[in-house]
Symmetry: C2
Subunit: 167 residues, 2 copies
DNA sequence: CAGTTTACGTCAGTCTTGTTGACATTCCAA
DNA sequence: TTGGAATGTCAACAAGACTGACGTAAACTG
């Protein structure tokens, strides 16, 4: 294929159709593994992956507003609200009316919420840690570089902002 | 944290909780980008991501049985069947009763099915190609190494088998 | 101050895609 | 040949996404 070679004749094997196909399949299979462990825990709690995501990002950005969470998660407010309502009812998330802008709701995890978030994240991180350790630091750096390049620009902004906020 | 340093004192920065957390967020945001382009095409066709997956893997392994597809996709046969039925009704997939074992159905893409698969895959690959090109060959190798290590063993077997089947 | 915009919540309805359970057909082996 | 295992289909249901419409309160703006 024309894509197998660059104009300079330099081999770009990682850009052949077959390599791209394998990359896509790797994403598919790996994402399944990535979510498998927390999903198992959630199944017994009448919660789903959506609850995990909410807990994760509230934990990572305490005091975030509903609107901000919305744009990070990329779902509609109706969809998020269903999840958030159950989490608040169950005492895992606290919603505080904004001090300066009373229209806003600032979201925090309660002690119970932190506990569940930790449980879910620990399960997920065990697998990630093993994968990172096995692949080695250079592979991990490449992994992150490719993923970052694959994001939509707006998602990349969120990603980088979250990184900065935590150092 | 105890995890920031290996017993030998060698820095393992990529295994800190914060790095693992960033890895998880990268997976989340990148997967959204990964599926965004084909999803846009599918939205106008009354098909969903499940249809794309079926087309993708039938394309990659023509003549595969329903059961084999089931274990690759990791869903129930009832779930797959709904998707498969619409694809067959719409003339994108052909189902042939097995010659030796009449319980089995062998699946093939029709010309129309191949055309849609190509359209979807091209959209997805354009983004992957850009990401791969931007990140460079070493990053791509690391990307794949980490993803492979992240898979469930059974999924990794499927992944490797698909690779072998195509060279 | 009046009108508009923003932020949030909710009700109702739909769609995709996952799940169980029940059932028919086919193959194979005791 | 009969019973179990494998394969696939039909029916019903649930989670979680979506749109659209509406309501309320607060903030902003001319």
């Amino acid at each position: 294929m024309a894509d197998g070679q660059s104009p300079q004749g330099e081999t770009l094997l990682y850009l052949t159709d077959e390599q791209l196909r394998q990359g896509a399949e790797a994403m598919f299979f790996a994402y399944r593994g990535f979510t498998a462990d927390p999903d198992r825990i959630l199944a017994g709690l009448s919660y789903g992956r959506a609850h995990h995501r909410a807990l994760h990002f509230i934990h990572g950005a305490p005091g975030t507003t509903v609107n901000n969470l919305l744009s990070i998660l990329g779902v509609t407010k109706q969809s998020l609200n269903r999840v958030l309502r159950t989490l608040i009812e169950d005492g895992l998330v606290e919603s505080q009316v904004g001090r300066t802008d009373k229209r806003e709701r600032h979201l925090y995890l309660t002690a119970d919420g932190e506990a569940l978030e930790k449980q879910l994240t620990d399960a997920q991180r065990a697998r990630m840690r093993a994968a990172f350790r096995q692949a080695g630091p250079e592979a991990v750096a490449g992994f992150r570089r490719v993923l970052e390049a694959m994001m939509d620009p707006e998602m990349r902004r969120h990603y980088q902002k979250l990184r900065e906020g935590r150092g």
